[in-house]
């Protein structure tokens, strides 16, 4: 019975400690802390924007990435609004959510850009090669046709 009670007591203490820690994480955020996380979130957005702009330059379809970036931007705006209202806890939460939304974003943008670059490269190469072969065929065919025609006209004149 005693050991059961001590187990319950131990469990209650454990729950209190864990709950207490998590509350500390979420609540009681200082202005400086919230401000620095907001600045970091803004910086993340700028980095992701640069990556997606580069992918767009290579001709990648960046619609999905831009939508995600817009959603992260919206969360950051909410964070800044909360910060302006003095609600640093919410500011921190929103900024954290914004950063979380962009995890792996730069790699995805780079992959998409690389894929688009390769597609563009092969498409251009195929087009150039196709045109060179086509133009060569037209030139060779024309020359052959011209000489055949010339010979035929000469033969006709000889008869």
């Amino acid at each position: 019975m005693r050991s059961r009670l001590s187990r319950v007591f131990f469990f209650a203490v454990l729950v209190s400690v864990v709950f207490g820690c998590s509350v500390n994480v979420v609540l009681g955020v200082s202005e400086e802390e919230a401000s620095s996380v907001l600045v970091a979130a803004e910086s993340d957005i700028v980095v992701c924007y640069s990556a997606v702009a580069e992918a767009d330059e290579f001709g990648a379809n960046v619609t999905v990435l831009l939508t995600r970036l817009g959603e992260a931007g919206e969360l950051l705006s909410l964070g800044e609004l909360a910060f302006g209202d003095g609600d640093f806890d919410s500011a921190l939460v929103y900024a954290g959510q914004s950063q979380g939304m962009l995890s792996g974003f730069v790699d995805e943008a780079h992959d998409l850009g690389e894929l688009a670059f390769n597609e563009q490269y092969w498409s251009l190469t195929t087009t150039i090669l196709g045109s060179i072969i086509g133009v060569s065929a037209v030139v060779v065919g024309s020359v052959v046709f011209w000489f055949l025609l010339k010979r035929k006209v000469k033969e006709g004149a000889g008869k």
């Binding site: 957005i45 700028v46 924007y49 640069s50 997606v52 702009a53 767009d56 330059e57 960046v62 619609t63 831009l66 970036l69 817009g70 931007g73 919206e74 950051l76 705006s77 909410l78 800044e80 609004l81 209202d85 251009l124 087009t127 150039i128 196709g130 045109s131 086509g134 133009v135 065929a137 037209v138 030139v139 024309s142 046709f145 011209w146 025609l149 010339k150 006209v153």
Partner: protein
């Protein structure tokens, strides 16, 4: 037909054939360079047309408009739309001098638009305002924009005899992220909605 005439016809037909075969490459190479780079900003009414803009504003009623941004800059742009509200005596954005209003933004909308694309932001807003009969003024307490409550506005709007309204002006300034300075610059564009904030109070 002489051989000389055949040659001319042959050269013309050959030239046209060569142009046809080379057209896929030529279409990629011979592209006229873009000379004008700009952004567009517009506001449409609730039916997606440039009409029926809200004017007589009732406290607590929701109004819908659509804010559009067109990107013709040649690159993906990072825009910030600053939402501001002012009464008749407060600083307005100036389209002649191309300067923004000095008022602080109530809210910032961040948006990203790819080159040659258009971004549309649906805006649903409502005001919470009261007509103060003794002082003949309207007290604007809060603005709700897309379900985000912007409280403690504390705007006092007095009677505008020139317009014969209690004049309120909700406007949207376009700012753009400049990579070289790593900061937002005013993009010299704004759109606005002019209101009469009295429709419920005076009737």
């Amino acid at each position: 037909m002489s051989m000389e005439e055949h040659r001319v016809l042959f050269l013309v037909v050959g030239g046209v054939l060569i142009l046809l075969v080379a057209s896929p490459v030529l279409s990629r190479v011979l592209v006229l360079p873009r000379t004008e780079f700009f952004s567009e900003l517009w506001l449409l009414g609730p039916s997606h047309m440039a009409e029926d803009y809200p004017f007589n504003i009732t406290s607590g009623s929701e109004y819908n408009v659509f804010l559009g941004i067109g990107n013709r800059l040649g690159y993906t742009a990072y825009y910030k739309v600053l939402v501001k509200f002012r009464s008749q005596n407060q600083s307005a954005a100036d389209s002649f001098n191309r300067t923004p209003s000095s008022l602080p933004a109530l809210y910032e909308i961040r948006t990203f638009v790819a080159d040659e694309e258009v971004g549309e932001i649906p805006l649903a807003f409502s005001f919470n305002h009261l007509y103060n009969e003794s002082r003949l003024q309207v007290d604007v307490n809060s603005l709700t924009l897309n379900q985000i409550e912007l409280e403690n506005l504390d705007y006092i709007i007095s009677w505008d005899s020139a317009r014969s309204v209690f004049f309120g002006n909700l406007f949207f300034e376009l700012w753009i992220f400049d990579a070289s300075s790593s900061s937002f610059q005013y993009h010299e564009r704004f759109v606005d909605l002019k209101f009469n904030m009295t429709s419920q109070a005076l009737t």
